[in-house]
Amino acid sequence: MMNDLQAVETALAGLSAPAAPRLADRIFGSWLAAPSRLGEVFVAFTGDGVQFLRSAESVGDDAGAFAEAYRDRFGRPLRQVDRAPAGLLTALCGTPAASLRLDLRGLSDFERDVLTATRRIPAGQTRPYGWIAREAGRPRAVRAVGSVLGRNPVPLLIPCHRVVRADGRLGDYMFGPAHKAELLRAEQVKTEELTAPATIAAQRIQRAQRGNRCVDNPAEPAECG
């Protein structure tokens, strides 16, 4: 019979200490800068996949602004790393990689459905916003599709630039319509298949783009080879 609580205390204190797992890997997002078809991009990812991508140009070439946007959106701290997740670098240069995983946690079902449908559009093709709305199961939510794509966490990797307006105009793009036209041209989208206003828009954009070193200078290190 044990009358002393001391033995219980001793046993509790003797519970051996297990090695703690490396929690940082599950708490911190990782980020790096990488070359892409849009010039340099900043990319953040977790162990589950790529979470967030923005062009350097869109954040004023400021990695700090990118990190702050990430923290606001995902509520995680960030640390810079050297190693890109599997498939990322080739995907950024336009070659889809089966090994590339995306971390789309925290999105609504509708957002995820919109992005999943968008991800299925092959290079060289476009789809209207209404098609995405139907694929996502909400055929009347055409405007909502536009807002979801405008907040696409991983543009390029989920090719929201391939979603165009039903009247053939290109529609908006988070990095600007000029970049949308440029990406589509690079994917050999036949501009004659788009209606006249879109062609005109594309040509206007093309003219505006001339002299843009990100597009025209193949030696730019942030560009894909």
Binding site: V8, A17, A20, L23, G75
Partner: protein, 208 residues
């Protein structure tokens, strides 16, 4: 004590302060230091508070994320005034309680008190078996305590926190914390002596 890795032990009072300075200088890299300093304690507590050891990693990672999100909204004055360890443990306790509440609404998980122990020294096989048995037994009876007593006992006697810090985590006066610890110990003793095959309290063996 079982866990000598608590940075705010009497011999290194300055650690918490250094971490606060690091947080103020750069929240993200400072937070990496905070995680590094406190993950052993948070994980060890989570392991003893959660019914399933497999959840301990999730719970402690979740606690750190909550802490980070809170810190983003704190000004320098508030960060400087934080007692990091009890603050983090309070967050962990709330998350663990919420998780237990959610789990209670779902079907029972498979019973699991598998030892997640990885001994740092190299004891004999016999000692290892014995320690595993003790850990399993204690894990099982700890789970049978009311939450507040379990938390009090784990913080005081497994982790070795001073009673004042236990009180801070429980959000009660020191005297009340002492009473939770004492009642928890008595209940543990009762539960252990009830067990038919207990090697813990019926023999003279001490567990070290």
């Amino acid at each position: 004590m079982a866990l000598p890795m608590t940075p705010e032990g009497p011999r290194n009072q300055g650690t918490g302060e250094k971490l606060q300075q690091a947080l103020l200088a750069d929240l993200d890299s400072g937070f990496a230091d905070v995680v590094h300093a406190y993950e052993p304690v948070l994980y060890a507590v989570a392991l003893r508070l959660s019914r399933r050891p497999a959840d301990a990693e999730d719970l402690s990672a979740e606690a750190f994320l909550h802490a980070y999100r809170a810190l983003r909204g704190y000004d320098a004055e508030r960060i400087s005034a934080l007692a990091l360890r009890p603050w983090l443990l309070t967050i962990l306790r709330n998350i663990t309680r919420n998780a237990a509440r959610d789990a209670a609404r779902r079907p029972d998980p498979p019973p699991a008190f598998e030892p997640a122990e990885q001994l740092t020294t190299a004891p004999s096989v016999e000692q290892q078996v014995e320690q595993r048995d003790v850990a399993r037994e204690l894990g099982a009876v700890l789970a049978a305590l009311p939450e507040i007593q379990r938390t009090a006992v784990v913080l005081r006697h497994v982790i070795g926190l001073p009673t004042s810090e236990v009180a801070e985590v429980l959000g009660c006066p020191d005297g009340t914390a002492k009473s939770h610890i004492w009642r928890g110990l008595r209940r543990l003793r009762a539960l252990l002596t009830e067990q038919p095959d207990t090697s813990l309290l019926t023999s003279e063996r001490t567990v070290r």
